[in-house]
């Protein structure tokens, strides 16, 4: 299992001439969860879209700086190779509505030829759904379409789709923002378990300090595109150095 450390340095991003990220840096190690925290509009989503090059889809985006995924220079490498290394869960649950629950999880492994037989594919699908704590709820209706699932179940299905590819880096963009509390707990558990078991590097964008405190090992606090404070979760939450961080933790920003 290769360990992929994520290293971002002097990252600057402009979208349509607007300076979105300013000299952002971070270092996330395998087996750990990094929370990217900040008020809405601070550039958190942009940051993780740079890491898997979804930023390429944004018209008028310009990126400068360095993003290393292990030995790979993510900004220079073929985006398909970068995305093969990374998995992503989005803010809105987005399992493909025209595919069954099974196919939603199987599509990634099929696309990249990870299963040599139907049975192998079945076992990947089962594994991913279990990792996303969704298996028990859908095992009897794998061939139904996702519209029958609740929002939280759909989000766990999106997570299972990403996990099925066993990504070395897992990116999550406010995955529980619109989700019920039970699913939120399950998703948070999945994330922490996956980081530890697969020694994967996890980055999760969140706008709630509580979630960051619950699941992360370190926190990157961004405000208006700039890193304000960066450090181990416990330290940052208990003894914030910056007054802005204190205000954010107190719910004032």
């Amino acid at each position: 299992m290769d360990l992929v450390e994520v290293r971002v340095s002097r990252l600057n991003v402009w979208i349509g001439g607007k300076h979105i990220l300013k000299d952002v840096y971070l270092k996330a190690s395998p087996g750990s969860v990094t929370a990217v925290m900040g008020p809405s509009g601070s550039g958190k989503s942009t940051l993780i879209r740079v890491i898997n090059r979804l930023i390429d889809l944004v018209p008028g985006a310009r990126v400068e700086g360095e993003v290393l995924l292990g030995g790979i220079n993510a900004l220079r490498e073929d985006p398909y190779i970068v995305r093969r290394l990374t998995g992503m869960v989005f803010q809105e649950p987005n399992p493909f509505p025209h595919m069954t629950i099974y196919d939603n999880v199987a599509i990634g492994p099929k696309l990249h030829g990870l299963a040599r037989s139907r049975r192998e594919l079945d076992s990947i699908v089962e594994w991913a759904l279990k990792k996303a704590h969704l298996w028990d709820e859908v095992k009897d209706r794998l061939h139904d379409y996702p519209y029958q699932l609740s929002g939280g179940q759909k989000q766990r299905l999106s997570l299972a789709r990403a996990l099925a590819l066993k990504p070395r880096v897992l990116l999550l963009d406010e995955p529980t923002a619109n989700i019920d509390p039970v699913s939120t707990t399950k998703i948070e558990r999945s994330i922490m378990e996956y980081a530890k078991e697969a020694m994967a590097t996890v980055l999760i964008v969140t706008h709630t300090p509580q979630q960051a405190a619950r699941i992360s090992d370190q926190i990157l606090f961004i405000y208006q595109g700039r890193v304000v404070e960066y450090g181990p979760t416990r330290e940052l939450v208990l003894h914030p150095k910056n007054s802005l961080t204190r205000k954010f933790l107190g719910g004032e920003v």
């Binding site: 898997n52 979804l54 889809l57 018209p59 985006p79 398909y80 995305r83 093969r84 990374t86 998995g87 992503m88 989005f90 809105e92 987005n94 399992p95 493909f96 509505p97 025209h98 595919m99 599509i107 990634g108 696309l111 990249h112 379409y145 519209y147 999106s158 789709r161 990403a162 590819l165």
Partner: protein, 284 residues
């Protein structure tokens, strides 16, 4: 005072419903007269109507519209083969390469095609394909019809693709899909009902078009196109037969036109029904 308000409400309701009826009355009139008169003709002619040639003008016999029906089927097939891939790919190009100057040109071009009278498209094909081949053919007709189909299908497919939320594209790319996989497996998959509707609307439009066929297929009223090589020969089509027979003074030909009109209506309705049955709706 309250009564007066209620009276006003009533008057308003009456006026709008009368106007609505005035607006749809012609439609009902057309459908009813096609069904009644065409139905009578079909009943008289029996199954022969679908297979025989038209009887000679003025005869007491009716005959049928066999060659025209077969011609229309060939035209639909050939036009689909040319028009569907062309329209779908044009729509993909317009949606996926929005900022490319060629894509903008394609968009302007297809939407202005909508404004061009279809008879001009027939003349264009006459001046190029027909004069090059030296004679009329089903192929020339199909090319004209494919051009007629293009703007309708392109705009429907384009809209259907635009309506697919951006997040599904991102999801596709995030699991390592290529652009064409995202377009054809994700976007087209989710938009399939809209894409199919665009195709069916285009087909419905072209099977009932007359003008582009006037100078292109040559109304060969007795030939039965059976194989691919007949495509290069003149043929007939149902709407063309209706247009030409309805103008004649012969009772039996006018009757054939009524029967053909009913058949054409049934074909168009069947296309829509088949689409609804075959293409499953995608629930987001």
């Amino acid at each position: 005072m309250r009564d007066w308000r209620r009276v006003k409400e009533r008057i308003f309701l009456a006026v709008t419903s009368i106007l609505a009826m005035v607006a749809v009355a012609p439609l009902f009139h057309i459908i009813a007269s096609v069904a009644i008169r065409g139905g009578g003709v079909l009943y008289r002619a029996g199954l022969d109507f679908l297979t025989s040639q038209p009887a000679p003008p003025g005869s007491s016999m009716l005959g049928g519209i066999g060659p025209a029906l077969l011609g229309t089927l060939w035209l639909a097939l050939l036009t689909s083969a040319i028009g569907i891939p062309l329209s779908v790919l044009t729509a993909v190009f317009i949606v996926e390469f929005k900022d490319h100057p060629l894509a903008r040109l394609a968009k302007v071009f297809t939407s202005s095609l909508l404004e061009i009278p279809t008879v001009l498209i027939g003349m264009l094909v006459f001046l190029t394909i027909v004069s090059m081949m030296g004679h009329y053919s089903l192929l020339a007709g199909s090319i004209a019809l494919a051009i007629v189909m293009l703007p309708y299908t392109v705009s429907y497919v384009e809209r259907a693709m635009e309506e697919v939320p951006r997040t599904y594209r991102e999801a596709g790319y995030s699991i390592g899909m290529t652009r064409s996989q995202v377009v054809f497996d994700v976007v087209m998959g989710i938009a399939r009902r809209g894409v199919a509707a665009g195709v069916v609307i285009g087909l419905a439009k072209i099977v009932s078009e007359t003008a582009p066929l006037l100078f292109t297929i040559g109304s060969a009223r007795s030939s039965y196109p059976m194989s691919m090589k007949d495509v290069f020969e003149p043929g007939d089509a149902v709407p063309l037969l209706i247009f030409q027979f309805a103008q004649t003074p012969y009772q039996n030909w006018q009757d054939l036109a009524w029967g053909a009109a009913l058949i054409l209506t049934v074909i168009v309705l069947a296309l829509f029904a088949a689409m609804k049955l075959i293409v499953r709706e995608v629930h987001l």
